[in-house]
Subunit: 588 residues, 2 copies
């Protein structure tokens, strides 16, 4: 037996016991004739003491231990004279009588401490060492506990976890697929699923009634900071339900997780905010409601006073930053620069401070009388000490998105985005379609299987862009953690949807024939949603990126630098797959 | 709300309640002025009654319902006059007051009954309809319950479920990989994991201590009856353990599953049978111990009596089929044909009946005296009424495997392989290596990371073929449900192993450098195992193939005939991946 106890287990009540521990050497300290070794495993750290007077040879051996050596130590649990109240095992130490080096270690390339000296690149290359650090390990433990609780909850609600295949067909619609050449079917390819969407709908047709799966999904996209080519979804679908049933059940799941994982009891129902309101008041379909700072439209008040920027604008909107009137000119200039960055793209920013006496001092005072400014102040609900920030533009949606960025930045600067505070809501009534400038056609905002709102179905023929969907997103702290919809279960309506999306009947049949055919044999009304597990874990862990809640993530080029994958194949492998690599010549 | 209750829920105690049910029309029967509709969902069947006298129009509508229509029916729960004790809901029926057709259905291509009229092919093409059948649905429900219990058990033992990546590096050693071209890394490929073996070892190096994952794995093999290109593993690994720790913990898991899922309490420890004994007594490394019929070697008794087949044999072995002396000549000839089939390859079979008076009558009586035959009878432990079957050959292992097939066939014929009886064991002490005629070198019997038995390490230099491994398989009813080993955690020993397996140091570094490097930084002693989930579910479900415990399986050509995958790609997709399909010309 390698150990009788873990390194996080022993307490004062164990004093006197003979124990065997095993783990990694965190630290070796020599003090007089004693050597103190902090022994670490997943469960904690226990201090092992070697005493020159008792066993000089053993003490000498302990002195030669290096960081991250794997050792086994035997000895007696004993009360410490100087206790460490910061460690669960801090009341005791082990008086060593035996030491076995199970495996030595080279000096690790960075320190295995909560605050390490290792940069991102080296920690990714030696990810197995980075995972030894408490903060990273804790994220994986959290992930495990979250998936256990998700399963426990859904199982208790009658959901069956059903595995859908990883080798499916490619659907060029939507994001790019990762594909897998088939050796047995020459020249043909499987695709890895971007989500099990159509398969879970088939499971509803098959009468499975309540399905879920925690499942890997794949998207071959150019990677942004918070994207991974493979990611994990909590994928769910239910039959014989309406939108409200889905929302209530999964709001229940969210509350269950908040309670079990974070110890937070959310008793109030989540706000259900129509998409149009979310855009109007927060410029985002995933508003961060940890703080208010709602948009106020100022077109009526600020137009027509000779300030040409506003006079020509299609949208003028402001936010009120409570107590921020003390912002210096330098801070305000920095904010202006912030919104003018190409990623945000505002042309400029107007600000107005509400002074102690209630007077409004703005950056556009020469165009506006105090009377107009007071009118604006009232509209904004601003009080002495507050700062009003205003953006305008000739495209309503674009300007709102810019104002959203400004709002989030102000929230950050004012400390209103506390990672331990959670604001949850549902965004509902999404538009069915959005116009794609690139494709010059309407695209499905969610996906082509989304059910339009019953009261808007008539508009499909006359004004499809105005049709709203039975679609809903769950948003926490400005992060879309999940989303879904009621699906179309009627093959005629589904065919019409494909038509609006510009599919010829042949193309629709080719890509989604299996689903439309299935709908001919008694498809039940159904709907569901999918959560991004990585995002949700990150949110609960207070991480800025999903990367640190993934054991072995890929970098921004889609590479696993630890495994050094992807890599070139042997010619033999290519031949077996009937493939040739054809790298186009560089431009001359 | 689409329903107040499911179709499996209502009982006599619900009589008088107004309910709404929804589901599929299983059957419509017209009797006098009444129409009886069996309404089905995942949970059961409830009878809905329409009465011409109460509502002629409604009754007429019910008469027009077709099989598999999706309907919603409202009405009052009422006690049946003629109860059906075979149905949980058989005491009641619903007197319908309202009927809504939620979705009609075309006539399904086969009947949705426990015993369907649909052949394999059509059921696979319409898998979503096949899944509506009770026996198929029950397999998926069983699978869900098994994975829930596996997770519950492992979680209670401190295991963390950690997801490892699906896009990894290709390792040409072993079975063929499925590969995934990378668009962002031109000309390079990921591979889909054949198992997370090396990754879980890295997790041990990272101190995760106890890991598991229920995970999809991929192998691009020519498919046999019971193989799928993607399959699911229960993958586990532990640190600071010895073989016995792993065996005890996972024997506990098996017992937990038997109890929770099948209601069977296994109190005895599983037999641990050395591989050499399994081969000697059963001719298989996965013996079916539901019945005895052990091999008895008969070389000493039967050689040297002038029967040249035996006289020249390297192996002669028999089995005793209890009570089978009544086998007719025709049956015995059929058995002989059975073992002579090319898949088995025996040259012939000798039999001997023990008659009521104890006399032995054999097919080779002219070579053997009754005295010798009696000696054989005693060795075999055969009694009056028993049948002795004997095979011989010039290759010991091959002959044992033939005798194994004969034993299994006799077990089948004698009804000794009851699907509701379970015989579990561990096969231990596997050889480290096996000789490959194809490769003309030693190959790892498990994989190159398997730890040799400490007492055999010295043999690595002198007689590697004799080295036994710390490897173990769990076998149930002749099926290898899982297997694993203690791993090498020492980089020098690992390097030696690669050398024996014929890797140059460069090749070993190229393929497994990431693992060998990791071992330099304090790898703990570790080991684990992996279960084939599909096989285990099949075993518990009493299935002959793993296919029916998989929601959407592939056929023997690796095709999903429902999705019609794999398929050709658009040229645009190929171009983006820098790939060309090069199908070699057919031979002239």
């Amino acid at each position: 037996m390698f150990r009788t106890n873990t390194c996080g287990e022993l307490r004062l009540s164990d004093a006197g016991k003979d124990v065997t521990l095993a783990g990694w050497v965190q630290r070796v300290r020599k003090m007089g004739g004693m050597t103190f070794v902090d022994l670490r495993d997943r469960y904690g750290i226990t201090q092992i003491v070697f005493n020159n007077e008792l066993d000089a040879k053993l003490n000498e051996a302990a002195n030669h231990l290096g960081r991250e050596f794997v050792i086994q130590a035997k000895g007696k649990v004993s009360e410490r004279t100087s206790k460490n109240p910061n460690m669960p095992t801090g009341d005791i130490e082990i008086l060593a009588t035996e030491l076995n080096v199970l495996n030595p270690s080279e000096v690790p390339p960075f320190t295995i401490e909560d605050d390490t000296d290792g940069g991102d690149d080296i920690r990714m290359r030696y990810r197995y060492l980075d995972l030894r650090r408490n903060p990273v390990r804790r994220n994986l433990e959290l992930r495990h506990r979250m998936t256990m609780e998700v399963r426990r909850y859904l199982d208790s609600k009658g959901f069956l976890e059903i595995e859908t295949p990883m080798l499916v067909g490619s659907t060029p619609e939507g994001a790019r697929d990762f594909v897998v050449p088939s050796r047995m079917n020459q020249g043909q390819f499987y695709a890895l699923p971007q989500s099990p969407q159509t398969l879970k709908q088939l499971l509803m047709v098959s009468g499975m009634d309540r399905y879920f799966q925690i499942v890997k999904c794949f998207r071959d996209e150019d990677l942004r900071a918070d994207r991974q080519p493979e990611f994990t979804q909590i994928d769910c679908e239910m039959s014989f339900i309406e939108q409200n049933d889905v929302i209530e059940l999964f709001e229940g799941m969210a509350k269950h997780l908040f309670k079990e994982i974070r110890g937070i009891e959310l008793t109030e129902p989540f706000i259900r905010m129509p998409w149009a309101d979310a855009m109007k008041y927060y410029g985002s379909d995933k508003p961060d409601l940890r703080f208010d700072m709602r948009f106020v439209e100022l077109m009526d008040i600020l137009k027509g006073h000779g300030f040409s920027v506003f006079d020509n604008a299609a949208y003028i909107g402001g936010i009120c930053a409570k107590g921020a009137a003390s912002y210096t000119r330098k801070q305000l200039d920095a904010l202006t620069e912030y919104v003018k960055r190409p990623q945000i793209g505002a042309k400029g920013m107007v600000y107005a401070r509400v002074e102690a006496d209630g007077n409004v001092k703005s950056s556009v005072d020469k165009f506006y009388s105090q009377e107009v400014l007071q009118e604006m102040r009232k509209a904004m609900g601003a009080e002495p000490g507050d700062l009003i920030l205003i953006l305008s533009g000739d495209d309503v949606m674009k300007t709102r998105k810019q104002l959203c960025e400004l709002r989030l930045e102000m929230g950050r600067q004012l400390g209103l985005r506390d990672k331990n505070k959670f604001a949850c809501l549902w965004v509902v009534d999404f538009p069915m379609f959005e116009w794609s400038d690139e494709e010059q056609r309407l695209m499905a905002m969610h996906h082509p299987f989304t059910h339009p709102k019953d009261e808007d179905i008539a508009l499909l023929d006359t004004d499809p862009a105005a049709v709203r969907a039975d679609a809903y997103d769950m948003v926490i702290n400005g992060v879309e953690v999940g989303g879904g919809s009621i699906r179309i279960h009627d093959s005629a309506l589904q065919a019409k949807m494909f038509e609006i999306l510009g599919f010829t009947p042949e193309k629709a049949q080719e890509q989604f024939g299996f689903l439309m055919n299935a709908f001919k044999f008694g498809a039940p009304p159904h709907g569901g949603l999918a959560y991004g597990l990585d995002r949700w874990v990150s949110l609960f862990a207070g991480l800025d990126s999903i990367r640190d809640c993934i054991a072995f993530p890929k970098n921004n080029s889609g590479r696993d630098v630890m495994l050094d994958a992807p890599a070139a194949l042997d010619q033999k492998q290519l031949d077996e797959l009937s493939l040739a690599v054809v790298i186009p010549e560089e431009k001359a």
